[in-house]
């Protein structure tokens, strides 16, 4: 190899290495000195007119719908990460997720058969905005009239809003669809008269748990089922505490005093009371119940329990 060409090679390599080093350093400098975005920028609806692309997206509507779906999950995820509080998926009011509905609306406008979006909306939106939750549910049914799940999600939305009559109507319509499970007929029959009952709530959350494709939605349904179990347990414990008080003219000093009485109580759904190693009664999330001797009642340990409090 000629000396000249070797020298040129080394020069070229030196330029490449130095330039890359400069690029690396400059990248970090520019990132560090990027002007801060205005407060609340993450809530600006810059790309929320995606539904207008329908028919003009070269056949890529599904892909753009996926993008809106991922954006909605990231949007919520970022808000959860940036807040210090523990947030449940079915109660995100504190996050003020203003853009969630537009994201979900755009996803379903571009792909009306994107069922998971309606499922997510039915779980998350009722706690944020009733109107939007119902609007999304109705839209799903209008675009997919033969999909029984969508009637279930809308019925669930109305049920959460305690509008049992509308919930019963929606479940009734959904129960007529081919392939709709018996659960829909049960809901249609019992919703009007027993909409506020635990039996209905248990059936609904059991169905949500069995059907949910997303882990977070499953977790939310599971926690609600545990909440119902805890309500049953607390009712039974309260009855026993009152019985103890009437027999002994005082409240029990600790759980050990009423454990023998609790063993005679049968909980619904073949559940049993549970105690930890310290013989404390524990709730379905393994957190000890609190015995408030002042008023002789059983309470949840609100600081530690995972049971939803609202």
């Amino acid at each position: 190899m000629k000396k000249g060409s070797t020298g040129q090679m080394f020069f070229a390599l030196a330029v490449i290495v130095c330039s890359f080093a400069a690029v690396f350093g400059l990248s970090r400098f520019l990132e560090a000195n990027r002007p801060a975005l205005p407060v609340g920028f993450e809530d600006e609806d810059l790309a929320l007119q995606g539904a207008r692309l329908k028919g003009y997206a070269l056949g890529f509507e599904g892909l753009i719908a996926d993008w809106y779906w991922m954006k909605s999950l990231q949007y919520i995820g970022d808000k959860i990460v940036n807040t210090e509080k523990a947030i449940r998926i079915d109660d995100m009011r504190e996050l003020n997720p203003r853009l969630l509905y537009p994201y979900l609306d755009n996803a379903t406008a571009l792909d009306p058969r994107f069922i998971s979006v309606y499922e997510y909306g039915a779980t998350v939106l009722p706690a944020i905005d009733n109107e939007q939750a119902v609007k999304l549910g109705e839209k799903g049914i209008k675009d997919n009239p033969n999909e029984w799940r969508l009637y279930h999600y809308l019925g669930f939305t109305y049920w959460r809003l305690k509008d049992y009559e509308k919930a019963a109507d929606v479940y009734g319509r959904g129960s007529q669809i081919d392939g709709a499970p018996d659960f829909m007929r049960l809901m249609a029959a019992k919703m009007k008269s027993e909409g506020g009952s635990r039996e209905i709530a248990r059936a609904i959350y059991r169905q949500m748990f069995d059907e949910a494709g997303d882990a977070k939605l499953k977790e939310s349904a599971a926690l609600r089922l545990l909440e119902l179990d805890s309500l049953d347990e607390r009712d039974a414990i309260q009855t026993v505490l009152q019985e103890f008080q009437s027999r002994n003219n005082r409240c029990a000093n600790n759980w050990r005093e009423i454990l023998p009485l609790l063993q005679t109580v049968k909980l619904p759904n073949a559940k049993n009371f549970r105690v930890n190693k310290s013989n404390e009664l524990i709730d379905p999330t393994d957190t000890p119940y609190i015995l408030d001797r002042a008023v002789c009642t059983v309470k949840l340990d609100t600081a530690k329990t995972k049971i939803p409090l609202k």
Partner: protein, 259 residues
């Protein structure tokens, strides 16, 4: 040698030449990479991995397939002219129409091989994430993508028969874009007051290929298989349209003087 033999000989040679083009491999590799990345992207979609793979994989297949159709298509004829090999070709008893059809079929065969490779990539990705019946049901949509690309190839060859490669590529790309929303434009025009605008968009709708007939990606993500009527109609539409384009190309090309 009869016309059919001539056409197949040219097609075979065109195929052999096209598969040596490195750009082709890079584009196919890129699509396979995008499909593989869809597996990871699927983790952001809360249980919708299969859907993401289908949407991303088939969309990439269509887009990059369009690039292949356009860029290889426009250079099919122009390369022969640049290299002056057309003189050698037409010194033999080969008709201009036979040449065009042979070149076109060769590129379609290349496209078919590329689409098959990309389709297998998407199917494997789906199998990896447990996509179930989607592994097989997407092939209906893939076939429609192939038909769309055969039309686009014919468009590219038409433009290249009378225009420079750069302009031909640009025009073919415009046809790809407009072809996909010509139906929407027609609906949009119907709402306008002007009868001239309505007539203009109606003419555009029928003259330009309606590529939205071949859009089935979103449906495929839901596990749909295109109905036989739709596929049959799409095939006939493609055949008729391609015939028109190749005949026009042959006519233009037969009047072209290479000196």
């Amino acid at each position: 040698m009869n016309s059919i033999q001539i056409i197949f000989t040219i097609a075979r040679n065109t195929f052999r030449e096209a598969v040596r083009d490195r750009v082709l491999y890079n584009l196919v590799l890129f699509v396979l990479l995008i499909t593989a990345s869809a597996i990871f992207l699927g983790e952001l979609t809360a249980g919708q991995e299969s859907r993401t793979i289908v949407n991303l994989g088939l969309s990439a297949m269509l887009l990059f397939g369009a690039f292949i159709s356009i860029f290889v298509g426009v250079s099919l004829v122009s390369k022969e002219i640049e290299r002056r090999t057309v003189y050698a070709i037409f010194s033999k008893p080969i008709g201009r129409g036979e040449f065009i059809v042979g070149k076109y079929l060769g590129l379609c065969l290349t496209l078919l091989v590329n689409i098959l490779i990309m389709g297998v990539g998407v199917s494997l990705a789906l199998a990896y994430v447990g996509g179930g019946s989607l592994v097989f049901s997407i092939w209906g949509a893939i076939f429609l993508i192939f038909l769309e690309l055969t039309i686009l190839t014919a468009v590219a060859i038409l433009f290249s028969s009378f225009s420079s490669p750069t302009l031909s590529a640009l025009l073919a790309f415009f046809v790809f874009i407009i072809g996909h929303f010509s139906a929407s434009l027609k609906e949009f025009a119907a709402n306008l007051g002007s009868s001239f605008t309505r007539l203009f968009f109606d003419v555009l709708y029928y003259i330009l290929p309606n590529l939205s007939f071949y859009s089935f990606i979103t449906n495929a993500a839901h596990g749909d298989i295109p109905p036989a009527k739709m596929v049959g109609g799409a095939m006939l539409y493609a055949l008729c349209y391609i015939c028109v384009l190749l005949v026009i190309t042959s006519l233009i090309f037969s009047r072209r003087n290479f000196k």
